[in-house]
């Protein structure tokens, strides 16, 4: 038994050494999975949040055509600290060319209608599908106009001796029960996806290299002639593949932990707990997934004749962890036990719970671990069975 363990260890360490020396392998797994993705996420979140924030606080500039038609409105707007830019020409064009984010046009009959108590019209031109901060600008303009409209409307009622409160049949009182943590969780909804993706990417290259690569290098026949059972040979390779997946996943977690201070969380009134306990729970529930990912990738790579073929198919497999992650980002779900036993889905749910600051039930954690482990082991057995075929060498 001891001798066989030694053999498995030999195969595992050979595959690890071999692949650590391969820059392509390290780049595609560790760098892309564990470093590039988290950094990209952090950068993008920062960029979006800061841009929206800056716009909300920055001085608002409005392009107005026909300002002379509504002098009292203009002085109201100016009193709010808004800068008025005289505009003339084609408003639609100006927005299409992105010269202006929004244009206000005050028609000539504005004053006439306004003074005779008929609703006076102000036109706003904007592009609702435009990206970035344009929407912030146009929202602020609309808010300004409705504030002015309300003020005037109320004073008109008051002049006629009617209480303006009559207009308010209903008052809405908002109670937002979201905590700063749950807001943070919304922002970090992609975290489980990034972690699982890191895990899949980490083991992908090794699965391909140890299976299809061995075949393509023409070293498989010589390897099979050694006095080692094929199942043990495969176990050694599988362990190496799993260890790369685990390593990448843990590195991804560490990268996120290190990236946290660079997230604009406080600015947004959010908080995220990535303490030791949280990280440990995440690691424990994600670890069994490494077995599943590596086995699945190994099975697919066994069927491939060449490195390239394996790369195509195993690459497609990356879509699998995307499905539940993206579905959960869009659809709200009430967690059930069967979901907690479903690999990938369970990890997504539990990590989301942790991020929202909810108490994760021990049952859920156990279900997640057992469910993923069971399916992982079944897939590992399938991989071993496939490796024992005589046709392994002659699949072309």
């Amino acid at each position: 038994m001891n001798k066989q363990m030694q053999q498995i260890k030999t195969v595992m360490f050979k595959e690890i050494t071999d692949n650590v020396r391969d820059k392509k392998s390290l780049l595609s797994s560790i760098f892309m999975g564990a470093v590039f993705m988290p950094v990209l996420f952090v950068f993008m979140i920062n960029f979006t949040v800061n841009m929206a924030k800056d716009k909300q606080e920055s001085q608002l500039e409005i392009a107005i055509q026909g300002a002379d038609n509504a002098k009292s409105f203009i002085s109201f707007v100016k009193s709010k600290g808004v800068k008025i830019n005289e505009f003339s020409g084609d408003a639609t064009k100006a927005i299409e060319n992105k010269d202006e984010e929004a244009v206000i046009i005050i028609p000539e009959d504005f004053y006439e209608n306004f003074s005779s108590g008929i609703p006076a019209k102000i036109e706003i031109y904007y592009d609702a599908t435009a990206k970035g901060t344009t929407n912030v600008t146009q929202r602020r303009i609309k808010a300004l106009i409705s504030e002015y409209s309300n003020t005037i409307g109320m004073s008109r009622l008051q002049l006629r001796g009617i209480s303006p409160l009559l207009l308010k049949a209903i008052v809405v009182e908002k109670h937002d029960v979201s905590t700063s943590q749950s807001k943070g969780a919304r922002l970090l909804a992609f975290l489980p996806y990034a972690l699982i993706l890191g895990l899949f990417m980490g083991s992908m290259y090794l699965a391909i290299d140890t299976m299809a690569g061995e075949k393509e290098r023409n070293s498989l026949e010589a390897l099979l002639l050694n006095p080692i059972k094929r199942s043990h040979l495969l176990l050694g390779k599988l362990f190496a593949t799993i260890s790369f997946g685990l390593m990448t996943m843990i590195l991804t977690l560490i990268t996120f932990k290190l990236a946290m201070p660079f997230m604009p969380l406080e600015k947004m009134g959010m908080s995220v707990d990535l303490g030791f306990k949280t990280l440990s729970i995440m690691t424990i529930i994600l670890a069994p997934l490494a077995i599943m990912a590596a086995s699945l990738q190994t099975i697919i790579a066994t069927f491939s004749k060449s490195f390239k073929e394996a790369q195509t198919y195993v690459g497609l497999l990356i879509i699998v962890p995307m499905i539940p992650s993206i579905a959960l980002m869009i659809l709200p779900v009430k967690e059930k036990l069967w979901m907690m036993a479903t690999p990938i889905l369970s990890q997504n749910l539990i990590i989301n719970q942790i991020m929202r600051g909810e108490q994760v039930e021990v049952v859920s954690i156990i279900a997640a671990i057992v469910g993923s482990l069971l399916i992982g082991l079944i897939l590992a057995l399938v991989a071993i069975k496939l490796y024992n075929r005589e046709s392994l060498l002659f699949s072309d």
Partner: protein, 243 residues
């Protein structure tokens, strides 16, 4: 000693090997001589139990590989038809990997590697990564890797295929030395001069059967030909001389 008793193998409709029987004794070089596709590689693959024969029996030093595959493999050192190396590992690491899989200790691997390096003249490249090795260098590493456990029985599939004169001579000299050490050597080839130069016993394989056997001079005598090539052609064409 390798004993082969009427082994056969089909691949679908094609019967690649039919009832092949022979014995390769110790201290002797036995050659399987045949054209491409004659069934040499399939026969060898059955002997080193990479594929299972449909019928027949094989004994490696009296051990049946069907019953004790790992034990039989320990008694064999095989240079297969495909001889890819791990190119991110050095030649020495390639050899060490197989030594470890054979359960050898580090010191044993070291001393055996050193003697193989000296015998096969690999001093110049033993610690270099094998990426970019010449054909000759690769074959030498592949041979060293296959024989790291110093097996009693050596099987080589077309060992000098694609090698230049100097490398071929090196490999030949090495095999002669191993024979002197009492090893059983079985190799396949389609090159007449090669077979003539090193073999004690030649088995001519054609269409999956052994159609003649004997030493070079015996085969020449049997057919009444001057050289091995003519004798070979005479045998595989049933005396008609040409295909």
């Amino acid at each position: 000693m390798i004993e082969v008793k009427s082994i056969s193998k089909n691949f679908g409709e094609v019967q690649a090997v039919k009832e092949v029987t022979f014995t390769a004794p110790d201290s002797q070089v036995t050659a399987l001589l045949g054209a491409n596709g004659a069934g040499k590689t399939t026969s060898l693959r059955m002997i080193y139990s990479l594929i299972t024969p449909e019928s027949g029996e094989i004994l490696i030093d009296g051990i049946d590989p069907k019953k004790e595959p790992e034990r039989a493999r320990k008694l064999l050192g095989v240079l297969p038809d495909t001889r890819g190396l791990y190119k991110r590992l050095s030649a020495r690491e390639n050899i060490e990997y197989f030594g470890k899989l054979h359960g050898m200790t580090d010191e044993k691997i070291k001393s055996r590697t050193d003697s193989l390096v000296a015998d096969l003249r690999m001093e110049d490249f033993i610690d270099r990564k094998t990426d970019g090795f010449s054909q000759g260098q690769r074959v030498k590493v592949a041979i060293a890797r296959a024989l790291v456990h110093d097996p009693q029985n050596i099987i080589l599939d077309e060992p000098t295929n694609g090698l230049d004169v100097m490398s071929t001579r090196g490999v030949r000299a090495f095999l002669m030395k191993e024979k002197e050490r009492g090893k059983c050597i079985l190799f396949s080839s389609h090159v007449m001069q090669e077979v003539a130069a090193v073999s004690d016993e030649i088995l001519i394989v054609n269409d999956g059967i052994i159609c003649a056997s004997g030493s070079e001079s015996e085969l020449k005598q049997q057919t009444g030909k001057e050289n091995l090539e003519d004798a070979f052609v005479h045998i595989v064409t049933n005396g008609e001389g040409h295909e």
